[in-house]
Amino acid sequence: MHPKLAEFLAGCRDEAPLQLGVVPFGMLYGIGAIQAGMPAWLAQLASAVVFAGAAQLVIVQMLAVGAGALPIGLTSGLLNLRHMLYSMSIAEHVRHLPRRWRLLLAYLLTDEAYAVAILRYQVTPPPDDRPDLRHWYFLGCGFTLWLTWQLSTAAGLLFGASVPAGWDIDFAVPLTFIALLAMLMKERAGQAAALVAALAALAFAALPYKLGLVVAIVLGLVAGVWASRRREVAR
């Protein structure tokens, strides 16, 4: 087998187990998008253009409650900021590549692909005797995740279209947020951010276009950062 193909397939193989966790999220997004009234083609297109699970679920939820473009854009812009951190972390390993490679790998840089690819870069040193092909591994990770995300979105769209509105299946999206919150709130700082954001969301409920949600998130951020600062000082 060609060494590039072997490296690509190794990336696909190591990324594969994570797909078990990705499929339900992709399906949930598809179901939620249909229930929120998004045209199916647009929801599928978003999975390719935005390609960020948490942000897509948030967009769907905000559409469902009638939020305007500005709050949806601001919230997604904040939620996806973390990709800059991944970009920084992986930069030293891909800087030497031609631009077309860097553009492609940047597009494929998601939480799950980053997690697997960075391990390869950190654990497997570049070989001395032959060229470094680890970017093919990264491509294998990214491609596997991309394919799963598109297919599970499509499956969710098909399923969502066949579920009657009376079943309240769209409630699965906030339930997902609750499940993720339970994990994130194991950290004290996460607790402060979540608590303040939830209370502020109610306090600013009357703002137009659901802008109160953005105000709430920003106040939650301030509270979270303040709480972790305080703990550092106390230590």
Binding site: F51, A69, N80, S87, L175, I178, G190, A198, L202
Partner: protein
């Protein structure tokens, strides 16, 4: 929101997300980001999810509605307990949906 407006919004969000992803790989020569950005990123997800969940449960038509016989907040409470005990997303959704049907039937 019209379909055209939503398409435009999604394209803008996609472009911004791509710029984040490409930023340190291809745009800036600087190799590190400020520490406050790291600190900030840890709180964005919990703050967003909490604000959206609170809105879904207690805001109807721009007004805060706190009612005792409301199925969704009670179902969310059941889901939160399951999430806290199991840490499992699918179990949380299953329990929350089942609880929602039960409370809708009860109230």
């Amino acid at each position: 929101m019209s379909t055209a407006a939503l398409l435009a919004l999604l394209v803008v969000i996609g472009l911004v997300t791509f710029v984040y992803r490409y930023a340190m790989i291809g745009l800036f020569a600087k190799r590190s980001l400020p520490g406050w950005l790291h600190a900030l990123c840890r709180h964005i997800a919990p703050a967003s999810f909490a604000a959206l969940t609170a809105g879904e449960l207690f805001i109807h038509g721009g007004e805060v509605v706190l009612a005792l016989a409301a199925p969704k907040p009670w179902a969310a409470l059941v889901a939160a307990l399951v999430a806290w005990r199991t840490g499992n997303v699918l179990a949380t959704i299953g329990a929350g949906m089942a609880a929602l049907y039960v409370f809708k039937w009860l109230f």
